[in-house]
Symmetry: C2
Subunit: 343 residues, 2 copies
DNA sequence: CTGAAAGCGCTTACAG
DNA sequence: CTGAAAGCGCTTACAG
């Protein structure tokens, strides 16, 4: 029968504390603390006794007390642009799945693709002294960058990679992926390939860059093939852009949309207008989101490894938190062309 | 110039503390604490002085210290089934938007529609002594229900409503919404209306119940019209179910899918198979998710008020946290039929 | 209405 | 390798 300390002060919370465990194991609170945290230099026999006592009493450390004493919380701040983009939902799920068994909670901040919102969220999160941070990409306000550095909180960037010294990242080359998709379209005989983008966040601009490079190499680049719209990405917008591009002359023979939701909207609009895909127009997307393989015709796109990215980022962060330098400072999870019937 | 206390111990964190503010305002730490938390019975002049000092020094309370002393964290646990269902993403966003300005963080737990995962997540969250809880629906394990009651943490249920004493909820009648959609199909002259569902979570079963009630009233119910699949909901599954139902005889003339992703998959499959919607088959969904209005033809569905639901739940929770009984214990945010061309 | 004391449950920093 | 003391930065509970 667990017997918490017999006398309890006026503010006792009824909780089993470290002192209870230490008392039960016949050691000091300090030794109990060290034993439970797996610190080195503790007698193996005492470790066993403390662990047994903790198990017997059902002890669980109080995160608030631990955070106050150690000046470090048991949570990780995760800053992502949006949950409405299924891309980030997959990343988040993978991060949580990796972090939770290690005893860390993910605190999600949604920046809405806005650098000042991101900065504000970061300030709030740093007040809680997170054990680590996951942030999206490398474009941040100067203040955000400084807050991260000065806080000295371990930080992993996701979506892109960087070779910069002291910077940790997990992602893939948006540029290379876009180049490869463009090469695929060229190999299919397409020549007037439009690039249609929304939101215009950094990753999108890198994809634009990849498309440009490939088009220029082939002597096929034409500024009129660039359709850049800063509005949020959506199926409806994709449909609108498709109609606009369709009306252009000289005629475009393929459209590379920077995200699948745009491409899906385009495919549906093509159906409505009776435009045959890919006979009249090839359509490709990016990210291989839910439903892309269900479209009519199924959408050619770039499969991105969101689960692998989130898991690798979380693992890297756990290593940094435990002051073990990760094996690699930049992990490239790659991508995979998903060629389907729309191209 | 802000001058933190001149002498700092060996563990000083450099942070501006309440003591610094109190010193600067010429009051005790207690008075400063009370003034900043807006407690009653504090001299208005002292409040002003303390607030001025806090602003001048850039003081922000330490959440860990506050949590330890008050035995209550500054975060709210939110338990939802999945982020892959856009429905919950909207609820979460609204909750965060309402909670953040009040100084509370949302800690999101994803249960994957699994009661034991939910229980596990709840146990972890309660260790952090959340200020409040938001949970999905009313079907939980006995242990989960007991944990909530015994923890005495204010709790608001979302998605459904309950009139039970002492239970707080924000939602709408899934049953009534399903009845209304079924009536719409009947009014359009449909008679053999199938109900096709996946996941089979409690809300889905309530929708089934609403459809059944309406079909029985019209003497049209037939057990063979019920297509229940426990697999996770997806566009691909909707397509499969559509093909199966299509093959059934006697012929079905409408399908009510329990969620839009299934219905979207069905519409795309209809396009692929050359089945005319609604001429050959009417198709309806539920939730009015992204893309439903972009389908070919646009999907008739039930618009649910996720934003209003999340915001109302968060407001209700804030009231409960501040021990102000909310105006209503059960808020019905309603729903709205979105009649489009698929029916 | 205000304050001195004690305490929340841990860990750091030091000494042995 | 182990422990007594002090401290993290707040709030509770009591007294005035």
């Amino acid at each position: 029968m667990p017997t918490p300390s017999p006398t309890r002060g006026r503010r006792a919370s009824g909780r089993i504390t470290l002192a209870d465990v230490a008392h039960s194991a016949g050691v000091s609170a300090m030794t109990a603390s060290r034993a439970l945290r797996g610190e080195r230099h503790v007698d193996p026999e005492l470790i066993a006794r403390v662990q047994a006592a903790a198990r017997k009493l059902g002890y669980v450390p109080d995160p608030a007390a631990r955070a106050l004493a150690s000046q470090q919380g048991s949570h990780v701040g995760v800053l992502i642009p949006a949950l409405s983009n299924a891309l980030f939902v997959d990343v988040i799920e993978a991060i949580q799945r990796t972090l939770r068994p290690a005893g860390y909670q993910a605190l999600i901040g949604i920046t809405h693709y806005d650098q000042s919102e991101e900065e504000q969220l970061l300030r709030e999160q740093l007040l809680h002294r997170p054990a680590g941070l996951v942030v999206t990409g490398f474009e941040h306000s100067a203040a955000t960058r400084e807050l991260i550095v000065r806080s000295a909180v371990p930080c992993v960037h996701v979506m892109e990679t960087s070779q910069e010294e002291g910077v940790y990242s997990v992602g893939f080359s948006q540029r290379d992926a876009a180049r490869e998709l463009t090469r695929h379209l060229l190999a299919r005989g397409r020549r007037r390939i439009a690039f249609a983008a929304a939101q215009l966040d950094p990753r999108t601009m890198q994809r634009l860059d990849g498309w440009r490079g490939e088009m220029r190499s082939g002597g096929l680049h034409d500024a009129r093939l660039e359709w850049l719209n800063p509005a949020p990405s959506s199926m409806a917008l994709g449909g609108q852009m498709f109609e606009q591009i369709l009306a252009q002359s000289p005629r475009v023979d393929a459209i590379f949309f920077c995200n699948d939701d745009l491409a899906q909207g385009a495919l549906l609009t093509a159906l409505r207008l009776g435009v045959r895909v890919p006979a009249d127009m090839a359509v490709a997307g990016f990210n291989d989101l839910t439903g892309s393989d269900q479209m009519v015709p199924p959408l050619t796109t770039v499969g991105t490894r969101r689960g692998a990215m989130g898991a690798a980022a979380a693992r890297m962060l756990l290593a940094l938190i435990q002051r073990q330098p990760p094996e690699q400072a930049a992990v490239d999870v790659g991508f995979e062309l998903a060629v389907r019937e729309s191209t």
